[in-house]
């Protein structure tokens, strides 16, 4: 531990700085009344271009992405680069689809995607399914952020013998995070994101210039990676894709993009912006992060070239490949700079973890508490419940990491991506058409969930000697196709979900089953800030206050 002392000091100082900012954030752009879910959970729906850029960027590109994507490149090569097409494809989709969700939410005061589904399809059951899916998918995502921090702590040698000693730093970090999220709501991650992203940009830009200089140029780094993949017996690795994993690459990129914009935390980030132009402008500025992510992914190859050996994993005989990038910094850079890099990853975990817990809390409050427990809850009560739920969610995430095998959280996250996709027909298509019947959407959700779980269960991973939940690449031959190609599970599941939804809609329409009343108007999907009709129809004074 002693040789890491400089790293630890730099890490701790930066961590303290952002913790201070987290508490001060409550007074930043201070609202008239914080006891309102629009204020605590959506930052007053008032964020302009820059704040949105940092917030959404800090939200989508998480600490886990920063350690797991290079780790995947380190292990499998080209297949790990799916993160780049994934984060290119997502922004046009946001631009075309999510903007409508912003408008209709602005018009009706929706805080969550389930709020929208409730009003659009007049179905509390469908809204409940969407809300539960969102919460269940988000929980392991928060736990993964802790894995990101742990990879860094491990590299700094902060590993104790007992269960408590090993996890003490994480427990402290999350306790502080929980406290300032409780107090400041979405304003805390919005403010901290400035520091996080600035650090990340500095660290990566320095790394991609300095490392090739030290390791003999990018050409030689790629050659070293090529040599490693040529020597390895694994069939799927290499500097380019092979005939079998191209379909997987494409469907994983598209499926992940669709999943990401359905995740409650991305929607929370988008709903917090103040008008349509802020969102549209951001969709052309956010790809700057994709560029960063691409460069970061290539650090996985730099680690191969530098001869990094990942630290041992939680179980005997396994390696923790997530330590690859932290080790690369530890070995190749002066310790003060490695400390900054570690802080960037550590703080990088806090921003999304805060937003995710807020998003999950919003879902619980609006679609479970207010819908089923206390229908006449006031705005202050809503905000109070959400604050407490955000604490519970974080305690749950920490408990997952301490008491369960971290692999379990990774499995859950894998499942999370597949299940959140199952809300696409209701949330995403619902923004364009109400043709599908609410009953059919529920049927499709059930079918997609069932199929998704069955497929994931049947994926074995020979490399990690696991019979189930071994990854997201499903061999098409299991469906009876005569091929060695693989495909992304979520993609198949959501296609079946949609098919069932269409078929059942036709049946229910033929049977003339009641379809409820659409509480939205076509015009709502284009509503914008300062809309005169909207201002006139605002229901309560505090909603008026929050829109200014």
């Amino acid at each position: 531990m002693s040789e890491h002392i400089t790293e630890i000091i730099v890490f701790a100082l930066l961590f303290l700085l952002v913790s201070g900012m987290g508490f001060v954030a409550a007074r930043w752009r201070a609202p008239k009344d914080m006891a309102h879910l629009d204020e605590w959970g959506l930052g007053g729906r008032s964020f302009g271009g820059w704040i949105t850029w940092f917030l959404v960027g800090g939200d989508l590109y998480t600490a886990y992405t920063f350690v797991a994507v290079p780790a995947l490149m380190f292990g499998a090569g080209a297949a790990g680069f799916f993160a780049v097409p994934y984060t290119i494809v997502i922004y046009p989709l946001f631009f075309l689809i999510l903007i409508r969700l912003w408008s209709v939410s602005h018009r009706h005061g929706f805080v969550t995607p389930a709020d929208f589904v409730r009003r659009r399809f007049d179905s509390p059951t469908l809204a409940l399914l969407v809300a539960i899916t969102g919460i269940v998918a988000t929980m392991p995502y928060i736990a993964l952020q802790l894995i990101g921090i742990e990879a860094v702590l491990k590299t700094m040698g902060m590993t104790g013998e007992s269960l408590l000693a090993r996890h003490a730093p994480i427990i402290i970090a999350f306790a502080i995070l929980a406290a300032y999220t409780y107090q400041s709501g979405l304003r805390a991650p919005a403010l901290i994101a400035f520091v996080k992203d600035t650090l990340i940009y500095i660290v990566i830009l320095v790394a991609v210039i300095y490392l090739p200089y030290k390791l003999g140029g990018w050409g030689s780094i790629f050659d070293d990676a090529q040599a490693k993949f040529d020597a390895s017996p694994a069939p799927g690795d290499g500097l380019t894709l092979n005939a079998n994993n191209q379909l997987q690459y494409v469907t994983l990129a598209l499926g992940s993009a669709l999943a990401l914009f359905l995740y409650p935390h991305s929607i929370t980030g988008v709903l917090a912006s103040k008008n349509r132009n802020v969102i549209k402008r951001n969709m052309s500025a956010l790809p700057a992060y994709s560029f960063l992510l691409g460069l970061l992914a290539l650090l996985g190859f730099a680690a191969i070239s530098a001869g990094v050996k990942p630290l041992p994993g939680a179980r005997e005989g396994t390696v923790d490949s997530n330590t690859v990038v932290p080790l690369l910094f530890d070995q190749q850079f002066p310790s003060w700079f490695a400390g900054i890099a570690f802080a960037a990853i550590g703080i990088g975990a806090l921003v999304p973890a805060a937003i995710m817990s807020i998003a999950a809390a919003n879902l619980f409050t609006r679609n479970i508490y207010k819908e089923y427990i206390r229908k006449d809850a006031t705005h202050a009560q809503e905000a109070g419940v959400a604050k407490i739920v955000s604490l519970v969610v974080k305690v749950g995430a920490v408990a997952c990491i301490i008491f369960l095998d971290p692999q379990f959280s990774i499995d859950l996250q894998l499942i999370g991506g597949v299940i959140i996709l199952q809300t696409a027909p209701a949330v995403a298509l619902g923004l364009f058409t109400r043709w599908m019947h609410r009953g059919a959407l529920i049927a499709g959700w059930v079918a997609g969930m069932g199929l998704g779980f069955w497929m994931l269960w049947n994926i074995a991973n020979p490399a990690t000697k696991r019979a189930h939940f071994g990854g997201s690449a499903f061999a098409l031959e299991k469906f009876g196709f005569d091929t060695t190609k693989t495909i992304y599970v979520g993609f198949v599941a959501v296609a079946v979900n949609l098919l069932i939804a269409v078929v059942v809609t036709l049946i229910l329409r033929a049977m003339k089953t009641p379809d409820g009343v659409d509480g939205t108007e076509p015009d709502d999907y284009y509503a914008d800030e300062g809309d005169p009709r909207l201002e006139a129809e605002r229901k309560s004074p505090d909603e008026l206050a929050s829109s200014t």
Partner: protein
């Protein structure tokens, strides 16, 4: 994906420019366009630098569509 139920809509963000966004959605998903090693650029195999180029493609198309469909503030 259309909205047939619309009675004459006072507002819309429909625009032919939106179709331009199909490009950055489709092109990065066509692996035959970039799944090869050479030519290398600054040591980067084609697979990598071409996909970096697609990021630029995304930025350019989204910026064009934003500029062309931007709501002019009515005073």
């Amino acid at each position: 994906m259309a909205e047939p139920e619309t009675s004459p809509p006072p507002r819309t963000d429909r625009s032919p420019w939106n179709w331009l966004l199909v490009i950055p959605i489709l092109v990065p998903l066509l692996t035959p366009l970039y799944n090869f090693e050479s030519p290398r650029l600054w040591g980067f195999p084609a697979f990598y630098w071409i996909q970096f180029l697609f990021i630029l493609l995304g930025v350019v198309t989204t910026s064009i569509v934003y500029q062309m469909t931007k709501k002019r503030r009515s005073s």
